[in-house]
């Protein structure tokens, strides 16, 4: 028997209470894993999408909604003349409910823009020109919409034909319906308007030159923002809000877990007052009692963390396969996030045990002889 077995037995004494506390803390940690994993995954898949298209700078007008605000397509003509700009690709992107999918990314792309080039045909063909009433679907989007080549696809009031299924090399691309820019502008009644310009710079452009180009783009078109592809999403106001909300919600859930652990440990200390006094009478140092309580709460946190990570990962996998959002989520469940979640759980455990541990240190050994 070791000191650690005393710690473990302390928790197994009241299995139901320990179990309920574990559920409490694991839900908090599951929320951290799921929400932070989703927001980080969204950021990562967005970046992967930009990388797949070979975009170096993103020009947009980010507002408070997830999709950027439209602006005049004349901005594109200003940008293309600037130094170091190799190519541009204007787009109109929108999140829309399309047939059976409650939310799908719709991407209208400049017909001669480079953003078409990264799409690899899996089946069918690309649209013949920007007049054809045709759409290509990313492979996930095709699965979600249950469409094959030749099927009609209703987007708002327009009926298009699915002419191709493509692999876009990123979750965002594969979950999208892609069509010619003029077609989408017409569907959305936004003729002459775009909301994203992907900019590719000439090879050999340095980081400083890239930053300078961003400044020049904004100078040329003060209405828009221009950011290096990697910084675009993290600087988006709406994305930052989503990120803050996911952390906020997670921390709130963790706080509930903290209170649960603290309550359990306080109950444990109160219930075991006499037992603790007996241990002191038998020669245990008060510091060992404090360590025992802290180890118990840390162990609660650790086990809650493990359970929370498992619940969070399982929950996310379940969510990913839900029809409503299938193809839109690519959670980033890296080992870093999972380990951080467990560390948070252990820290939460220890923090929650501080007050009960302090209370345990106040117990007098004289109590051992009472009753």
């Amino acid at each position: 028997m070791t000191f650690f077995s005393i710690v473990v037995r302390g928790l197994t004494r009241r299995p139901v209470r320990t179990g309920l506390t574990l559920v409490g803390i694991s839900i908090g940690i599951a929320a951290v894993v799921a929400l932070v994993g989703i927001s980080r995954g969204f950021e990562k898949s967005w970046e992967t999408g930009l990388k797949a298209r070979g975009t170096d700078i993103v020009v947009s007008k980010m507002g408070s909604s997830l999709a950027p605000k439209p602006f005049s397509d004349a901005v594109a003509e200003l940008i293309v003349k600037l130094p170091h700009v190799a190519a541009i690709s204007s787009q109109f992107v929108e999140l829309l409910s399309i047939e059976s999918s409650q939310m799908m990314m719709l991407s209208g792309r400049q017909w001669d823009g480079y953003a078409w080039k990264n799409l690899k045909l899996i089946s069918g063909r690309m649209p013949l020109d920007d007049k054809e009433q045709a759409v290509v679907l990313g492979q996930t989007a095709a699965e979600v919409l249950k469409k094959k080549i030749g099927d009609p696809l209703q987007i708002e009031a327009a009926e298009l034909t699915v002419v191709g299924i493509v692999d876009g090399g990123a979750v965002v691309e594969n979950g999208s319906a892609i069509l010619a820019l003029p077609l989408l502008q017409e569907i959305m009644s936004e003729q002459g308007r775009i909301n994203v310009i992907d900019v590719r710079v000439t090879p050999g452009t340095s980081e400083d030159e890239l930053k300078q180009l961003c400044v020049e783009i904004v100078r040329a078109a003060p209405d828009v923002t221009a950011m290096a592809a990697g910084e675009h999403l993290s600087n988006s106001q709406s994305f930052r809000m989503v990120k803050a909300m996911s952390w906020g919600t997670s921390l709130l859930a963790v706080l509930v877990g903290v209170l649960g652990v603290m309550n359990t440990m306080l109950m444990t200390v109160f219930e075991r007052k006499q037992e603790i006094s007996v241990l002191l009478a038998l020669g245990w140092k008060p510091s060992r009692i404090v360590r025992m309580v802290l180890w118990e709460s840390a162990l609660l946190g650790f086990l809650g963390g493990i359970a929370g990570v498992l619940i969070g990962v399982a929950g996310i996998k379940l969510l990913q396969n839900t029809e409503a959002i299938r193809g839109l989520l690519e959670p980033d469940l890296g080992i870093g996030l999972l380990l951080t979640s467990i560390v948070i759980a252990v820290v939460v455990g220890v923090m929650s045990g501080l007050y009960p541990a302090w209370r345990s240190s106040r117990i007098t050994p004289a109590l051992a002889l009472q009753g």
């Binding site: 037995r9 007996v278 002191l280 008060p286 050994p365 002889l369």
Partner: protein, 235 residues
């Protein structure tokens, strides 16, 4: 601990007050307990005998007066837990075994404060369990043991760190007469074989007569200090 010949405990004008002096549990107690003595502290409920045992076990500090253990002032010990772990063994009326630990494990609990490796702790606990005749109950939890068996495990636990003094608080108080006799015989045997100092609190005169010396208390004072039967204590 400083050595002071054969004197184990020496109390001079020992007082203990509670509630800002409203309750006087000990009102000036003087005594000496020598090495290897078997002393029974007797008296009715509330006379201060448990308070005195708390002082001897360094579980509480006196309000005034002095109390020395082998020449060292008990209230002034820098770390009383070292004294409790190494010098004394406690036996409680309600046994106070930890319910989620087996008999063998309960005996090892005080040893966690020693430097003994786990295997040695286990071996020593098994030897102690044998010495109280309960080796066949090693893996049993307290709930599966009879009252007498629990107290025998508690006695084995009190010997875990090889103390020279045993402090027992009504050790047979919760037992039937047969088990009480077994426990008392065991304590007397330990006292005689291991030359241990045994200080036992009781209000049972049969037990008190087994001791070599009785300290009879009344209202926080010692009213009789001598060989049992030389006076007629009526606790």
């Amino acid at each position: 601990m400083k050595n002071s010949n054969t004197c184990v405990y020496e109390a001079v004008a020992l007082k203990k007050d509670y509630d800002d002096g409203q309750v006087q549990a000990l009102r000036g107690v003087d005594f000496r307990i020598e090495q290897g003595e078997f002393v029974a502290i007797i008296g009715s409920s509330g006379c201060g005998k448990t308070t005195l045992l708390q002082m001897l076990g360094a579980l509480d500090k006196p309000s005034t007066g002095s109390l020395h253990y082998r020449g060292s002032s008990l209230p002034d010990l820098a770390d009383p837990s070292v004294y409790r772990a190494r010098e004394i063994g406690f036996i409680f009326q309600s046994f106070h075994l930890l319910p989620t630990f087996t008999a063998l494990e309960n005996i090892q609990i005080p040893m966690l404060e020693s430097d003994l490796p786990a295997s040695e702790r286990r071996g020593r606990a098994l030897t102690l369990l044998k010495s109280v005749g309960l080796e066949h109950r090693a893996r049993h939890f307290p709930s599966k043991l009879s009252g007498g068996e629990r107290q025998r495990v508690a006695i084995a636990r009190s010997l875990a760190n090889g103390p020279s003094v045993l402090l027992a608080d009504e050790p047979t108080g919760n037992l039937d007469s047969e088990n009480a006799r077994i426990i008392l015989d065991l304590l007397v045997q330990l006292h005689e074989e291991q030359k241990m100092t045994l200080v036992l609190v009781t209000h049972d005169m049969i037990i008190a007569r087994k001791a070599a010396r009785n300290l009879q208390m009344l209202d926080g004072r010692i009213v009789f200090d001598g060989i049992p039967g030389t006076a007629a204590p009526s606790p």
